[in-house]
Amino acid sequence: MNEVEHLGALVKNMTDLHQREYKIRYNLHENLFFRKLVSPQVLDKLRAKPLDYFKSLIFLDYYTRILSDNDFSACDNIETLSKAVRDIEREKGIANAENGASYFKLETVVLETGMCFKQKHAQAGLSKIPKNEITGARRRYQQDKISLTRKIEPFYEGLGEMVKCQISEPMQRYIPGIKSRADLGALIFSDSVIAVIKNKKCTQEVVAMLECKDYLGASITALDYLASESSPERIKQSILQNNDKR
């Protein structure tokens, strides 16, 4: 089984996260992607550039459902920020829709999530993820199991390709080790953080964990680094760079 078939088979065997179907805007494989991989709370809040949209959705879904114990405040923050940017654009008479800055790139989504996490823990006087949160994340992670009873078929292979495309090329070597929706989320989460913060030490540590198939550990390490590198200035900088469609 190649990487695409492997991912397709996993997605096919995942339970649905919801029953929504977007009748108007999205087509078959996009709706299936949403149903299998993204919780509705995330779908409702995120506006992102077309090319970054699906990866941002998985990034946020993993963060909120697994790492953040279904606390969707990061999504609320992102939505609030996006609306604020859109209001400013409207005041200036700019109506660029997807070309505008209110449609975020993955970088903005990642940094804003890091900032949200940082603030939450700073309020509690913590600088790192506390142990009890890691235990909770591990429990939720382990519950996200898949039993492979349905066989892969071409349609889902196409969906597997769609999922594979959300993982950067250097990280695609870890696809065969993915055994659950949580593994997939953790890999995409770590991949996104590495790409955004470009911290060599973070990359090394995350990769070392992925080599040992510790996807959860990799994502927790990535989150720690993300929190320390996220700042309002970086987010502002990132939003200013959102002014193109990609």
């Binding site: 087509n27 071409p154 292979e157």
Partner: protein, 291 residues
């Protein structure tokens, strides 16, 4: 009360002893494998296709960036015949149990002839077991719909699934590009441009149709440009990552049949209706074989 069963054969109603309520009860049989939830299925005018790695230029389905051929499965009649022969023993037993449950006294002691009773029972089964189904035109517009005449229960009796895509427990009606464009809100396009799009959609690709729209935004209502138009275009074609279905010389756009929060209701309706119709055939056969 007197009832005429065959011209010339008169019997009293009270001699026809049937337990009508048992006519509806389901038979203990496995489901027919014609409709499977395990792969994408396109039902098109009575023929069934699924995605295949065998490439084809005139029958294809594109999923994200991958293109697959559409391969025709065994026709419904063949699948049903195989189902009946594979489950012969179980079906025979189910028929016997059905007759025993519905016919109230010993066949050998009744006044009514057994063949007549069987005939009456068959008529009552057909009257009583009905399946509510939509019709194709209600779902896919007024285009010509033909169906394979193969004598199967699926093609003879099922209605409203002449042009559908079934995927993961969901039902999508297949609309041609022309049918899809004709669903656009009135006034979205200038009339002459709208008519041109309908003509073009007969032989242009989805990419070409979207390009035509993009090149003529001055002919699209202002309010639609930022709202309904992007949504409409997205379903037709947005990029090399768009889906596409091409079959019988037409590009098809899947249109979800259920409500947006519907839990696979439409799909279950189809599966249940089909099984019920198959069972009706078995029950009628059982009735007619009463001797």
């Amino acid at each position: 009360m007197v009832k005429v069963i065959n011209p010339g054969d008169m019997v009293f109603e009270e001699d026809i002893k049937l337990d009508e309520d048992k006519i509806d009860s389901p038979l203990s049989l496995p489901p027919c494998p014609l409709l499977t939830n395990d792969e994408v299925q396109i039902v098109y005018n009575g023929r069934i296709f699924s995605a295949s790695k065998k490439q084809s230029t005139d029958k294809l389905i594109k999923v994200y960036t991958m293109i697959f051929g559409l391969e025709e499965k065994d026709n419904p009649k063949m699948v049903e015949d195989k189902y009946f022969s594979d489950n012969l023993g179980q079906i025979k037993k189910a028929k016997e149990e059905f007759v025993k449950a519905v016919v109230q006294n010993d066949l050998s002691t009744r006044k009514l002839g057994n063949a007549q009773l069987g005939q009456e029972l068959a008529a009552r089964i057909e009257k009583r077991i009905t399946v509510e189904m939509g019709n194709a035109q209600a779902y896919v517009g007024k285009g010509l719909i033909t169906k394979l005449d193969d004598g199967s229960v699926f093609n003879d009796e099922m209605k409203g699934i002449e042009r559908v895509l079934l995927l993961d427990g969901r039902v999508y009606d297949l609309l041609s590009m022309k049918e899809y464009i004709s669903l656009s809100p009135k006034g979205m396009f200038r009339q002459e441009f709208y008519e041109k799009l309908l003509v073009l959609s007969d032989d242009k690709t989805p990419e070409q149709i979207v390009k035509e729209i993009n090149d003529n935004l001055d002919k699209v209502h202002r309010d639609a440009i930022s709202k309904s138009l992007p949504a409409m275009k997205n379903k037709i074609w947005h990029s090399e990552r768009s889906g596409k279905i091409f079959l019988d010389g037409v590009y098809w756009i899947p249109n979800y049949r259920g409500n947006s929060d519907d839990n696979s209701l439409e799909y279950q309706k189809i599966v249940t209706a089909y099984q019920k119709l198959l069972e009706r055939k078995i029950k009628v056969d059982a009735a007619r074989s009463i001797r």
